[in-house]
Protein backbone atom coordinates (compact mmCIF):
# COMPACT_ATOMS: atom_id res chain seq x y z
CA UNK A 1 0.00 0.00 0.00
CA UNK A 2 1.79 3.09 -1.17
CA UNK A 3 2.04 5.93 1.24
CA UNK A 4 -0.50 8.66 0.83
CA UNK A 5 2.22 11.24 0.33
CA UNK A 6 3.42 9.39 -2.74
CA UNK A 7 -0.15 9.26 -3.99
CA UNK A 8 -0.68 12.94 -3.44
CA UNK A 9 2.60 13.80 -5.04
CA UNK A 10 1.86 11.65 -8.04
CA UNK A 11 -1.51 13.22 -8.48
CA UNK A 12 0.19 16.57 -9.00
CA UNK A 13 1.33 15.14 -12.27
CA UNK A 14 -2.17 15.70 -13.55
CA UNK A 15 -1.51 19.41 -13.60
CA UNK A 16 1.29 18.92 -16.05
CA UNK A 17 -0.86 16.97 -18.40
CA UNK A 18 -3.95 19.10 -17.94
CA UNK A 19 -3.28 21.89 -20.48
CA UNK A 20 -2.58 19.39 -23.23
CA UNK A 21 -5.55 17.28 -22.24
CA UNK A 22 -7.82 20.27 -22.32
CA UNK A 23 -6.79 21.10 -25.85
CA UNK A 24 -6.91 17.45 -26.75
CA UNK A 25 -10.50 17.24 -25.62
CA UNK A 26 -11.51 20.47 -27.27
CA UNK A 27 -9.85 19.95 -30.60
CA UNK A 28 -9.80 16.22 -31.03
CA UNK A 29 -12.38 14.49 -28.92
CA UNK A 30 -15.15 17.04 -29.23
CA UNK A 31 -14.84 17.39 -33.01
CA UNK A 32 -14.96 13.64 -33.36
CA UNK A 33 -18.05 13.53 -31.23
CA UNK A 34 -19.53 16.38 -33.19
CA UNK A 35 -18.78 14.57 -36.43
CA UNK A 36 -20.71 11.57 -35.22
CA UNK A 37 -23.52 13.78 -34.06
CA UNK A 38 -23.72 15.68 -37.33
CA UNK A 39 -23.60 12.51 -39.34
CA UNK A 40 -26.87 11.42 -37.83
CA UNK A 41 -28.68 14.38 -39.27
CA UNK A 42 -29.38 15.69 -42.72
CA UNK A 43 -29.96 19.28 -43.77
CA UNK A 44 -32.60 19.72 -46.35
CA UNK A 45 -33.53 22.89 -48.14
CA UNK A 46 -37.08 22.16 -47.24
CA UNK A 47 -37.58 21.05 -43.71
CA UNK A 48 -34.25 22.14 -42.17
CA UNK A 49 -32.00 19.78 -40.32
CA UNK A 50 -33.60 16.51 -39.48
CA UNK A 51 -32.47 13.49 -37.56
CA UNK A 52 -32.00 10.78 -40.10
CA UNK A 53 -30.10 8.25 -38.09
CA UNK A 54 -27.99 5.93 -40.12
CA UNK A 55 -29.15 7.04 -43.52
CA UNK A 56 -25.99 8.98 -44.28
CA UNK A 57 -24.03 5.89 -43.40
CA UNK A 58 -26.05 3.57 -45.55
CA UNK A 59 -25.78 6.03 -48.37
CA UNK A 60 -22.01 6.15 -48.10
CA UNK A 61 -21.56 2.47 -47.58
CA UNK A 62 -23.62 1.80 -50.66
CA UNK A 63 -21.81 4.37 -52.72
CA UNK A 64 -19.68 2.91 -55.46
CA UNK A 65 -17.91 6.21 -55.79
CA UNK A 66 -16.85 6.15 -52.16
CA UNK A 67 -15.59 2.60 -52.26
CA UNK A 68 -13.68 3.03 -55.49
CA UNK A 69 -11.87 5.87 -53.79
CA UNK A 70 -11.11 3.62 -50.82
CA UNK A 71 -9.82 0.89 -53.09
CA UNK A 72 -7.69 3.40 -54.90
CA UNK A 73 -5.91 4.61 -51.76
CA UNK A 74 -5.39 1.06 -50.60
CA UNK A 75 -3.78 0.20 -53.93
CA UNK A 76 -1.80 3.41 -53.68
CA UNK A 77 -0.55 2.51 -50.21
CA UNK A 78 0.18 -1.07 -51.18
CA UNK A 79 2.49 0.08 -53.95
CA UNK A 80 3.95 3.27 -52.62
CA UNK A 81 4.87 2.18 -49.11
CA UNK A 82 6.88 -0.96 -49.89
CA UNK A 83 8.71 0.70 -52.77
CA UNK A 84 9.55 3.72 -50.69
CA UNK A 85 10.63 1.69 -47.67
CA UNK A 86 12.78 -0.55 -49.84
CA UNK A 87 14.59 2.44 -51.28
CA UNK A 88 14.87 4.05 -47.86
CA UNK A 89 16.19 0.89 -46.23
CA UNK A 90 18.61 0.28 -49.08
CA UNK A 91 20.20 3.68 -48.71
CA UNK A 92 20.03 3.61 -44.94
CA UNK A 93 22.09 0.40 -45.03
CA UNK A 94 24.51 1.81 -47.55
CA UNK A 95 25.18 4.89 -45.47
CA UNK A 96 25.26 3.03 -42.19
CA UNK A 97 27.89 0.63 -43.49
CA UNK A 98 29.77 3.43 -45.14
CA UNK A 99 29.98 1.60 -48.45
CA UNK A 100 29.35 4.65 -50.58
CA UNK A 101 31.32 7.84 -50.75
CA UNK A 102 30.06 11.24 -49.60
CA UNK A 103 27.55 9.62 -47.29
CA UNK A 104 26.93 12.73 -45.21
CA UNK A 105 26.30 14.89 -48.25
CA UNK A 106 23.93 12.39 -49.77
CA UNK A 107 22.00 11.98 -46.55
CA UNK A 108 21.50 15.70 -46.28
CA UNK A 109 20.32 15.95 -49.89
CA UNK A 110 17.89 13.06 -49.50
CA UNK A 111 16.38 14.74 -46.48
CA UNK A 112 15.67 18.05 -48.20
CA UNK A 113 12.18 17.12 -49.47
CA UNK A 114 11.08 16.84 -45.85
CA UNK A 115 11.49 20.59 -45.64
CA UNK A 116 9.23 21.08 -48.65
CA UNK A 117 5.49 21.40 -47.98
CA UNK A 118 3.41 18.89 -49.88
CA UNK A 119 1.71 21.72 -51.74
CA UNK A 120 4.95 23.06 -53.11
CA UNK A 121 6.19 19.56 -53.90
CA UNK A 122 3.02 18.86 -55.83
CA UNK A 123 3.31 22.20 -57.63
CA UNK A 124 6.90 21.51 -58.69
CA UNK A 125 6.08 18.06 -59.95
CA UNK A 126 2.98 19.33 -61.71
CA UNK A 127 5.18 21.63 -63.72
CA UNK A 128 7.65 18.85 -64.41
CA UNK A 129 5.01 16.38 -65.52
CA UNK A 130 2.77 18.84 -67.30
CA UNK A 131 1.32 16.96 -70.29
CA UNK A 132 2.17 19.50 -72.93
CA UNK A 133 5.13 21.49 -71.79
CA UNK A 134 6.65 19.67 -68.88
CA UNK A 135 10.32 18.64 -69.15
CA UNK A 136 9.54 15.03 -68.41
CA UNK A 137 6.85 14.92 -71.07
CA UNK A 138 9.38 16.17 -73.56
CA UNK A 139 11.93 13.69 -72.32
CA UNK A 140 9.44 10.87 -72.83
CA UNK A 141 8.87 12.15 -76.32
CA UNK A 142 12.58 12.09 -77.04
CA UNK A 143 12.83 8.59 -75.65
CA UNK A 144 10.21 7.33 -78.02
CA UNK A 145 7.00 7.81 -76.07
CA UNK A 146 5.28 10.76 -77.70
CA UNK A 147 2.07 12.12 -76.27
CA UNK A 148 2.69 10.75 -72.82
CA UNK A 149 0.16 12.24 -70.47
CA UNK A 150 1.32 11.78 -66.92
CA UNK A 151 -2.06 12.92 -65.72
CA UNK A 152 -4.07 10.51 -67.79
CA UNK A 153 -6.15 7.96 -65.93
CA UNK A 154 -3.52 5.30 -66.69
CA UNK A 155 -0.59 7.22 -65.36
CA UNK A 156 -2.10 9.54 -62.79
CA UNK A 157 -1.79 7.21 -59.84
CA UNK A 158 1.75 6.31 -60.84
CA UNK A 159 2.62 9.98 -61.03
CA UNK A 160 1.23 10.59 -57.57
CA UNK A 161 3.19 7.62 -56.30
CA UNK A 162 6.39 9.10 -57.68
CA UNK A 163 5.62 12.45 -56.07
CA UNK A 164 4.92 10.94 -52.67
CA UNK A 165 8.03 8.77 -52.84
CA UNK A 166 10.01 11.89 -53.63
CA UNK A 167 8.54 13.64 -50.59
CA UNK A 168 8.96 10.94 -47.98
CA UNK A 169 11.88 8.65 -48.79
CA UNK A 170 14.44 10.90 -47.17
CA UNK A 171 12.59 11.09 -43.88
CA UNK A 172 12.08 7.33 -43.75
CA UNK A 173 15.69 6.79 -44.67
CA UNK A 174 16.86 8.99 -41.81
CA UNK A 175 14.80 7.08 -39.30
CA UNK A 176 16.08 3.75 -40.56
CA UNK A 177 19.64 5.03 -40.70
CA UNK A 178 19.50 6.09 -37.08
CA UNK A 179 17.99 2.73 -36.16
CA UNK A 180 20.78 0.90 -37.93
CA UNK A 181 23.37 3.01 -36.16
CA UNK A 182 22.09 1.79 -32.84
CA UNK A 183 22.99 -1.81 -33.59
CA UNK A 184 25.84 -2.65 -31.20
CA UNK A 185 29.13 -2.60 -32.99
CA UNK A 186 30.53 -5.67 -31.31
CA UNK A 187 27.67 -7.84 -32.55
CA UNK A 188 28.59 -6.94 -36.11
CA UNK A 189 32.25 -7.53 -35.35
CA UNK A 190 31.39 -10.96 -33.97
CA UNK A 191 29.53 -11.67 -37.20
CA UNK A 192 32.57 -10.63 -39.21
CA UNK A 193 34.77 -12.95 -37.20
CA UNK A 194 32.24 -15.68 -37.92
CA UNK A 195 32.84 -14.96 -41.62
CA UNK A 196 29.28 -13.82 -42.24
CA UNK A 197 28.65 -12.45 -45.74
CA UNK A 198 27.38 -8.88 -45.83
CA UNK A 199 23.89 -9.73 -47.04
CA UNK A 200 23.48 -12.07 -44.11
CA UNK A 201 24.71 -9.46 -41.67
CA UNK A 202 22.04 -7.11 -42.97
CA UNK A 203 19.18 -9.56 -43.16
CA UNK A 204 19.80 -11.83 -40.18
CA UNK A 205 21.40 -9.41 -37.74
CA UNK A 206 20.65 -5.79 -38.51
CA UNK A 207 17.17 -6.02 -39.92
CA UNK A 208 15.67 -7.88 -36.94
CA UNK A 209 17.11 -5.25 -34.64
CA UNK A 210 15.53 -2.39 -36.55
CA UNK A 211 12.21 -4.10 -36.90
CA UNK A 212 10.47 -1.82 -34.33
CA UNK A 213 11.41 1.19 -36.42
CA UNK A 214 10.21 -0.48 -39.60
CA UNK A 215 6.90 -1.35 -37.96
CA UNK A 216 6.42 2.19 -36.79
CA UNK A 217 7.21 3.56 -40.23
CA UNK A 218 4.79 1.20 -41.95
CA UNK A 219 2.18 2.27 -39.45
CA UNK A 220 2.73 6.01 -39.86
CA UNK A 221 3.07 5.80 -43.61
CA UNK A 222 -0.12 3.78 -43.92
CA UNK A 223 -2.12 6.31 -41.96
CA UNK A 224 -0.74 9.08 -44.13
CA UNK A 225 -1.21 7.27 -47.41
CA UNK A 226 -4.85 6.41 -46.75
CA UNK A 227 -5.57 10.08 -46.20
CA UNK A 228 -4.08 11.18 -49.52
CA UNK A 229 -5.46 14.62 -50.32
CA UNK A 230 -3.04 17.40 -51.18
CA UNK A 231 -1.31 15.93 -54.21
CA UNK A 232 -4.48 14.99 -56.07
CA UNK A 233 -5.98 18.38 -55.35
CA UNK A 234 -3.02 20.32 -56.68
CA UNK A 235 -2.85 18.12 -59.76
CA UNK A 236 -6.51 18.78 -60.33
CA UNK A 237 -5.80 22.50 -60.27
CA UNK A 238 -3.14 22.08 -62.92
CA UNK A 239 -5.01 19.69 -65.12
CA UNK A 240 -8.66 20.13 -64.60
CA UNK A 241 -10.68 17.02 -65.02
CA UNK A 242 -7.77 14.70 -64.42
CA UNK A 243 -8.84 13.95 -60.88
CA UNK A 244 -12.35 12.73 -60.31
CA UNK A 245 -14.28 14.11 -57.38
CA UNK A 246 -14.07 10.81 -55.53
CA UNK A 247 -10.43 10.13 -56.32
CA UNK A 248 -9.49 9.62 -52.70
CA UNK A 249 -11.79 9.38 -49.71
CA UNK A 250 -10.38 12.53 -48.12
CA UNK A 251 -10.79 14.40 -51.35
CA UNK A 252 -14.36 13.15 -51.71
CA UNK A 253 -15.13 14.23 -48.16
CA UNK A 254 -13.72 17.66 -48.85
CA UNK A 255 -15.74 18.04 -52.03
CA UNK A 256 -18.87 16.82 -50.31
CA UNK A 257 -18.47 19.19 -47.41
CA UNK A 258 -17.34 22.31 -49.22
CA UNK A 259 -18.28 22.12 -52.88
CA UNK A 260 -21.52 20.28 -52.48
CA UNK A 261 -22.22 21.71 -49.02
CA UNK A 262 -23.51 18.37 -47.79
CA UNK A 263 -21.82 18.58 -44.43
CA UNK A 264 -23.81 15.85 -42.75
CA UNK A 265 -23.01 13.35 -45.44
CA UNK A 266 -19.40 14.43 -45.33
CA UNK A 267 -19.37 13.87 -41.58
CA UNK A 268 -20.65 10.35 -42.01
CA UNK A 269 -18.04 9.69 -44.67
CA UNK A 270 -15.35 11.03 -42.37
CA UNK A 271 -16.39 8.70 -39.58
CA UNK A 272 -16.44 5.72 -41.90
CA UNK A 273 -13.03 6.67 -43.23
CA UNK A 274 -11.74 6.95 -39.68
CA UNK A 275 -12.92 3.44 -38.91
CA UNK A 276 -11.39 2.05 -42.09
CA UNK A 277 -8.07 3.67 -41.33
CA UNK A 278 -8.03 2.44 -37.75
CA UNK A 279 -8.76 -1.09 -38.89
CA UNK A 280 -6.15 -1.13 -41.64
CA UNK A 281 -3.46 0.50 -39.50
CA UNK A 282 -4.03 -1.91 -36.67
CA UNK A 283 -3.86 -4.75 -39.17
CA UNK A 284 -0.58 -3.47 -40.53
CA UNK A 285 0.85 -3.62 -37.01
CA UNK A 286 -0.25 -7.20 -36.47
CA UNK A 287 0.85 -8.44 -39.86
CA UNK A 288 4.27 -6.95 -39.39
CA UNK A 289 4.64 -8.49 -36.00
CA UNK A 290 3.89 -11.97 -37.38
CA UNK A 291 6.02 -11.70 -40.45
CA UNK A 292 8.83 -10.28 -38.40
CA UNK A 293 10.06 -13.61 -37.13
CA UNK A 294 13.17 -14.00 -39.21
CA UNK A 295 15.05 -17.26 -38.96
Amino acid sequence: MRSSWVHRRDRRGVWFVAPFLLGFLLFMVVPLGYAIYTSLYTSRIIGGTVFTGASNYTQTLGSGLFWSGVVRVIVFAAIQIPVMLAIAFFFACVFDLGVAKFGTAFRTIFFIPFAVPAVVGAVMWSFLLEPQFGPFTRLASVLGFPNTNFFSPNLLLASIIVIVIWEWTGYNMMILYTALKSVPRDVVEAAILDDTPLWKIIVRIKLPLVRPAVVMLVFLNTIGALQLFTEPQILEYFEQGAVSVNYTPSYYIYQTAIAADETNLAAAMAVILAVIIVVISALSLIVRRRRGEFA
Partner: protein
Protein backbone atom coordinates in the same frame (compact mmCIF):
# COMPACT_ATOMS: atom_id res chain seq x y z
CA UNK B 1 61.63 -10.01 -20.62
CA UNK B 2 61.21 -6.57 -22.04
CA UNK B 3 61.77 -3.35 -20.25
CA UNK B 4 60.99 0.15 -21.33
CA UNK B 5 64.00 2.28 -20.72
CA UNK B 6 63.52 5.14 -23.13
CA UNK B 7 63.90 8.53 -21.50
CA UNK B 8 60.86 10.80 -21.83
CA UNK B 9 60.78 12.28 -25.35
CA UNK B 10 61.59 15.98 -25.73
CA UNK B 11 58.52 18.21 -25.89
CA UNK B 12 57.26 18.52 -29.49
CA UNK B 13 57.16 22.01 -31.00
CA UNK B 14 53.63 23.50 -30.97
CA UNK B 15 51.74 22.54 -34.17
CA UNK B 16 50.58 25.34 -36.51
CA UNK B 17 46.85 26.09 -36.29
CA UNK B 18 44.72 23.84 -38.50
CA UNK B 19 43.08 25.00 -41.67
CA UNK B 20 39.41 24.30 -42.16
CA UNK B 21 40.19 21.55 -44.63
CA UNK B 22 42.63 19.90 -42.27
CA UNK B 23 40.12 19.96 -39.50
CA UNK B 24 37.45 18.42 -41.67
CA UNK B 25 39.86 15.78 -42.84
CA UNK B 26 40.79 14.97 -39.28
CA UNK B 27 37.12 14.81 -38.28
CA UNK B 28 36.49 12.44 -41.14
CA UNK B 29 39.37 10.23 -40.05
CA UNK B 30 38.19 10.27 -36.45
CA UNK B 31 34.69 9.34 -37.61
CA UNK B 32 36.13 6.55 -39.69
CA UNK B 33 37.98 5.29 -36.62
CA UNK B 34 34.70 4.83 -34.85
CA UNK B 35 33.10 2.87 -37.68
CA UNK B 36 33.81 -0.67 -38.73
CA UNK B 37 36.36 -0.52 -41.57
CA UNK B 38 34.65 -1.14 -44.88
CA UNK B 39 37.27 -3.68 -45.94
CA UNK B 40 36.02 -6.10 -43.32
CA UNK B 41 32.73 -6.56 -45.15
CA UNK B 42 34.40 -8.51 -47.91
CA UNK B 43 32.73 -6.73 -50.82
CA UNK B 44 33.79 -7.26 -54.39
CA UNK B 45 35.76 -4.47 -55.98
CA UNK B 46 33.71 -1.77 -57.55
CA UNK B 47 30.81 -2.17 -55.15
CA UNK B 48 31.59 1.12 -53.52
CA UNK B 49 31.63 2.86 -56.88
CA UNK B 50 28.40 1.24 -57.94
CA UNK B 51 26.66 2.24 -54.74
CA UNK B 52 27.99 5.76 -54.94
CA UNK B 53 26.58 6.01 -58.45
CA UNK B 54 23.19 4.76 -57.27
CA UNK B 55 23.18 7.27 -54.45
CA UNK B 56 24.11 9.94 -56.94
CA UNK B 57 21.18 9.00 -59.16
CA UNK B 58 18.73 9.25 -56.31
CA UNK B 59 20.27 12.54 -55.27
CA UNK B 60 19.68 13.72 -58.81
CA UNK B 61 16.07 12.60 -58.58
CA UNK B 62 15.74 14.49 -55.30
CA UNK B 63 17.27 17.67 -56.62
CA UNK B 64 15.57 17.85 -60.01
CA UNK B 65 12.47 19.69 -58.75
CA UNK B 66 14.60 22.02 -56.66
CA UNK B 67 16.84 22.77 -59.59
CA UNK B 68 13.81 23.30 -61.76
CA UNK B 69 12.20 25.76 -59.41
CA UNK B 70 15.45 27.67 -58.96
CA UNK B 71 15.99 28.05 -62.68
CA UNK B 72 12.43 28.73 -63.68
CA UNK B 73 11.88 31.32 -61.01
CA UNK B 74 13.80 33.61 -63.32
CA UNK B 75 11.55 33.11 -66.34
CA UNK B 76 8.46 34.66 -67.78
CA UNK B 77 5.31 32.60 -68.03
CA UNK B 78 5.82 31.92 -71.69
CA UNK B 79 9.36 30.83 -71.10
CA UNK B 80 8.42 28.55 -68.25
CA UNK B 81 6.36 26.51 -70.62
CA UNK B 82 8.26 26.89 -73.83
CA UNK B 83 11.95 26.92 -73.12
CA UNK B 84 14.12 24.06 -71.97
CA UNK B 85 13.21 23.38 -68.35
CA UNK B 86 16.70 23.12 -66.99
CA UNK B 87 18.42 26.10 -68.45
CA UNK B 88 17.85 29.81 -68.29
CA UNK B 89 16.25 31.97 -70.92
CA UNK B 90 16.10 35.67 -71.38
CA UNK B 91 14.54 37.89 -70.22
CA UNK B 92 15.70 37.42 -66.68
CA UNK B 93 12.61 38.23 -64.73
CA UNK B 94 13.29 37.06 -61.23
CA UNK B 95 13.32 40.39 -59.47
CA UNK B 96 10.28 41.64 -61.29
CA UNK B 97 8.29 38.62 -60.22
CA UNK B 98 9.76 38.72 -56.76
CA UNK B 99 8.55 42.28 -56.42
CA UNK B 100 5.06 41.16 -57.27
CA UNK B 101 5.05 38.94 -54.23
CA UNK B 102 4.71 42.05 -52.16
CA UNK B 103 1.59 43.15 -53.93
CA UNK B 104 -1.91 41.89 -54.10
CA UNK B 105 -2.13 40.93 -57.73
CA UNK B 106 -5.64 40.78 -59.12
CA UNK B 107 -7.00 40.31 -55.65
CA UNK B 108 -5.55 36.85 -55.42
CA UNK B 109 -3.72 37.63 -52.25
CA UNK B 110 -0.37 39.00 -51.15
CA UNK B 111 2.41 36.48 -50.86
CA UNK B 112 4.36 38.34 -48.28
CA UNK B 113 1.32 38.48 -46.10
CA UNK B 114 0.93 34.73 -46.38
CA UNK B 115 4.55 34.39 -45.44
CA UNK B 116 3.98 36.42 -42.32
CA UNK B 117 0.89 34.42 -41.51
CA UNK B 118 2.72 31.14 -41.89
CA UNK B 119 5.55 32.33 -39.71
CA UNK B 120 3.09 33.48 -37.07
CA UNK B 121 1.10 30.26 -37.09
CA UNK B 122 4.24 28.14 -37.12
CA UNK B 123 5.90 29.96 -34.25
CA UNK B 124 2.78 30.19 -32.12
CA UNK B 125 1.43 26.80 -33.02
CA UNK B 126 4.72 24.98 -33.09
CA UNK B 127 6.04 26.69 -30.01
CA UNK B 128 2.81 26.19 -28.13
CA UNK B 129 2.69 22.55 -29.16
CA UNK B 130 6.20 22.03 -27.86
CA UNK B 131 5.41 23.66 -24.53
CA UNK B 132 2.27 21.60 -24.02
CA UNK B 133 4.01 18.43 -25.13
CA UNK B 134 6.95 19.00 -22.83
CA UNK B 135 4.70 19.51 -19.81
CA UNK B 136 2.47 16.60 -20.70
CA UNK B 137 5.34 14.28 -21.58
CA UNK B 138 7.10 15.01 -18.32
CA UNK B 139 3.89 14.57 -16.35
CA UNK B 140 3.19 11.21 -17.93
CA UNK B 141 6.74 9.98 -17.61
CA UNK B 142 7.48 10.90 -14.03
CA UNK B 143 4.18 10.81 -12.21
CA UNK B 144 2.27 7.60 -11.74
CA UNK B 145 -1.23 8.86 -11.18
CA UNK B 146 -4.25 6.76 -11.78
CA UNK B 147 -5.15 6.65 -15.46
CA UNK B 148 -1.83 7.98 -16.66
CA UNK B 149 -1.16 4.91 -18.74
CA UNK B 150 -4.66 4.93 -20.21
CA UNK B 151 -4.33 8.60 -21.02
CA UNK B 152 -1.10 7.92 -22.82
CA UNK B 153 -2.65 5.19 -24.94
CA UNK B 154 -5.59 7.42 -25.73
CA UNK B 155 -3.23 10.13 -26.92
CA UNK B 156 -1.35 7.69 -29.11
CA UNK B 157 -4.63 6.35 -30.38
CA UNK B 158 -5.43 9.82 -31.62
CA UNK B 159 -2.71 9.35 -34.23
CA UNK B 160 -4.89 6.76 -35.86
CA UNK B 161 -7.75 9.16 -36.52
CA UNK B 162 -7.51 10.73 -39.95
CA UNK B 163 -7.29 14.48 -40.20
CA UNK B 164 -10.42 14.64 -42.32
CA UNK B 165 -12.45 13.11 -39.54
CA UNK B 166 -11.21 15.77 -37.16
CA UNK B 167 -10.92 18.81 -39.38
CA UNK B 168 -14.28 18.73 -41.13
CA UNK B 169 -16.24 18.79 -37.87
CA UNK B 170 -13.84 21.39 -36.53
CA UNK B 171 -14.73 23.53 -39.50
CA UNK B 172 -18.38 22.94 -38.84
CA UNK B 173 -18.07 23.95 -35.22
CA UNK B 174 -16.11 27.02 -36.16
CA UNK B 175 -18.82 27.92 -38.62
CA UNK B 176 -21.36 27.74 -35.82
CA UNK B 177 -19.20 29.66 -33.38
CA UNK B 178 -18.22 32.31 -35.90
CA UNK B 179 -14.60 31.28 -35.59
CA UNK B 180 -14.05 31.05 -39.30
CA UNK B 181 -11.06 33.15 -40.30
CA UNK B 182 -9.85 33.36 -36.73
CA UNK B 183 -6.12 33.09 -36.18
CA UNK B 184 -6.68 31.22 -32.95
CA UNK B 185 -8.80 28.78 -34.85
CA UNK B 186 -5.64 27.83 -36.65
CA UNK B 187 -3.12 28.14 -33.87
CA UNK B 188 -4.95 26.42 -31.04
CA UNK B 189 -5.62 23.11 -32.76
CA UNK B 190 -2.03 23.15 -33.99
CA UNK B 191 -0.87 23.16 -30.41
CA UNK B 192 -2.24 19.69 -29.86
CA UNK B 193 0.44 17.30 -31.04
CA UNK B 194 0.03 13.69 -29.91
CA UNK B 195 3.28 12.67 -31.50
CA UNK B 196 4.97 15.49 -29.63
CA UNK B 197 3.66 14.16 -26.34
CA UNK B 198 4.77 10.66 -27.27
CA UNK B 199 8.27 11.81 -28.12
CA UNK B 200 8.59 14.02 -25.06
CA UNK B 201 7.42 11.33 -22.74
CA UNK B 202 9.87 8.84 -24.13
CA UNK B 203 12.65 11.36 -23.99
CA UNK B 204 11.83 12.41 -20.43
CA UNK B 205 11.86 8.75 -19.46
CA UNK B 206 15.30 8.34 -20.87
CA UNK B 207 16.96 11.53 -19.82
CA UNK B 208 15.54 12.57 -16.45
CA UNK B 209 16.53 10.17 -13.66
CA UNK B 210 13.92 9.74 -10.97
CA UNK B 211 16.56 10.04 -8.29
CA UNK B 212 17.36 13.54 -9.44
CA UNK B 213 13.75 14.59 -9.02
CA UNK B 214 13.56 12.95 -5.62
CA UNK B 215 16.72 14.71 -4.55
CA UNK B 216 15.23 18.04 -5.62
CA UNK B 217 12.05 17.29 -3.72
CA UNK B 218 14.02 16.53 -0.62
CA UNK B 219 15.77 19.84 -1.11
CA UNK B 220 12.33 21.41 -0.89
CA UNK B 221 11.72 22.50 -4.46
CA UNK B 222 8.18 22.71 -5.77
CA UNK B 223 7.12 20.53 -8.69
CA UNK B 224 6.99 23.34 -11.22
CA UNK B 225 10.40 24.53 -10.15
CA UNK B 226 11.77 21.02 -10.45
CA UNK B 227 10.38 20.76 -13.95
CA UNK B 228 11.78 24.08 -15.10
CA UNK B 229 15.16 23.99 -13.41
CA UNK B 230 16.01 20.31 -13.18
CA UNK B 231 14.15 18.29 -15.78
CA UNK B 232 13.82 20.67 -18.69
CA UNK B 233 17.56 21.38 -19.09
CA UNK B 234 18.10 17.63 -19.39
CA UNK B 235 15.40 17.35 -22.04
CA UNK B 236 16.73 20.06 -24.30
CA UNK B 237 17.71 17.93 -27.32
CA UNK B 238 14.32 16.28 -27.26
CA UNK B 239 12.57 19.60 -26.90
CA UNK B 240 14.46 20.99 -29.88
CA UNK B 241 13.55 18.00 -32.00
CA UNK B 242 9.90 18.26 -31.09
CA UNK B 243 10.02 21.99 -31.76
CA UNK B 244 11.47 21.39 -35.18
CA UNK B 245 8.90 18.75 -35.99
CA UNK B 246 6.00 20.87 -34.85
CA UNK B 247 7.14 24.04 -36.56
CA UNK B 248 7.62 22.13 -39.80
CA UNK B 249 4.24 20.46 -39.38
CA UNK B 250 2.41 23.76 -38.92
CA UNK B 251 4.39 25.43 -41.69
CA UNK B 252 3.42 22.64 -44.06
CA UNK B 253 -0.16 22.25 -42.87
CA UNK B 254 -2.64 22.49 -45.71
CA UNK B 255 -5.91 20.88 -44.84
CA UNK B 256 -6.82 22.76 -41.70
CA UNK B 257 -6.23 26.28 -43.02
CA UNK B 258 -7.85 25.30 -46.29
CA UNK B 259 -11.09 24.66 -44.49
CA UNK B 260 -11.17 27.34 -41.86
CA UNK B 261 -9.96 30.34 -43.82
CA UNK B 262 -11.93 31.81 -46.65
CA UNK B 263 -10.34 35.23 -46.92
CA UNK B 264 -6.98 35.12 -48.51
CA UNK B 265 -5.51 37.65 -46.12
CA UNK B 266 -5.36 34.93 -43.51
CA UNK B 267 -4.02 32.17 -45.70
CA UNK B 268 -0.72 30.56 -44.90
CA UNK B 269 1.66 29.90 -47.75
CA UNK B 270 0.37 26.41 -48.48
CA UNK B 271 -3.21 27.48 -49.05
CA UNK B 272 -2.19 30.63 -50.89
CA UNK B 273 -0.02 28.75 -53.34
CA UNK B 274 -2.79 26.24 -53.78
CA UNK B 275 -5.11 29.10 -54.62
CA UNK B 276 -2.70 30.41 -57.22
CA UNK B 277 -2.40 26.95 -58.73
CA UNK B 278 -6.14 26.93 -59.04
CA UNK B 279 -6.45 30.36 -60.56
CA UNK B 280 -3.37 30.39 -62.75
CA UNK B 281 -4.86 28.01 -65.28
CA UNK B 282 -7.85 30.18 -65.99
CA UNK B 283 -6.54 33.61 -65.22
CA UNK B 284 -5.46 35.85 -68.01
CA UNK B 285 -2.78 37.34 -65.82
CA UNK B 286 0.58 36.30 -67.20
CA UNK B 287 2.25 36.81 -63.88
CA UNK B 288 0.52 34.16 -61.87
CA UNK B 289 2.55 31.21 -63.00
CA UNK B 290 5.88 32.95 -62.44
CA UNK B 291 4.62 34.16 -59.08
CA UNK B 292 3.69 30.61 -58.24
CA UNK B 293 7.16 29.42 -59.06
CA UNK B 294 8.96 32.22 -57.25
CA UNK B 295 6.57 31.93 -54.34
CA UNK B 296 7.22 28.22 -54.13
CA UNK B 297 10.93 28.90 -54.09
CA UNK B 298 10.66 31.50 -51.35
CA UNK B 299 8.54 29.11 -49.33
CA UNK B 300 11.04 26.32 -49.31
CA UNK B 301 14.29 28.25 -49.06
CA UNK B 302 14.02 29.17 -45.35
CA UNK B 303 13.20 25.66 -44.25
CA UNK B 304 15.88 24.07 -46.37
CA UNK B 305 18.41 26.57 -45.09
CA UNK B 306 17.29 25.87 -41.54
CA UNK B 307 17.74 22.16 -42.08
CA UNK B 308 21.13 22.53 -43.64
CA UNK B 309 22.32 24.63 -40.75
CA UNK B 310 20.78 22.46 -38.10
CA UNK B 311 21.77 19.14 -39.59
CA UNK B 312 24.66 18.98 -37.23
CA UNK B 313 22.40 19.08 -34.23
CA UNK B 314 19.55 17.10 -35.65
CA UNK B 315 18.61 14.46 -33.16
CA UNK B 316 17.25 11.90 -35.52
CA UNK B 317 18.43 9.50 -32.92
CA UNK B 318 15.96 10.76 -30.40
CA UNK B 319 13.10 10.52 -32.81
CA UNK B 320 14.08 7.01 -33.61
CA UNK B 321 15.13 5.88 -30.14
CA UNK B 322 11.65 6.60 -28.91
CA UNK B 323 10.17 4.53 -31.70
CA UNK B 324 12.45 1.60 -30.99
CA UNK B 325 11.42 1.43 -27.35
Amino acid sequence: MTVSTAPPPPAAPPAPPETRRQRRRRERLVARDSEIPVELYGLPRGTITLLTVLAFLFALFTLIPIAWILINSTKTQANIFETFGFWFASPFQFFHTFGLLFQNVDGYGTFIQWFGNTALYAVLGGGGATVLAAFAGYGLARFRFRGSQMTFYAIIGALLVPITALTVPLYLSYAKAHLINSIWGMVLPSMISPIGVYLMRTYADISVPRELIDAARIDGAGELRIFLRVALPLMVPGVLTVLLINVVAVWNNYFLPLLIFNVNTKYPLTVGLGLWSNRAVNSGNANLYPMLVVGGLVTIVPLIALFLILQRYWRGGMLLGSIAN
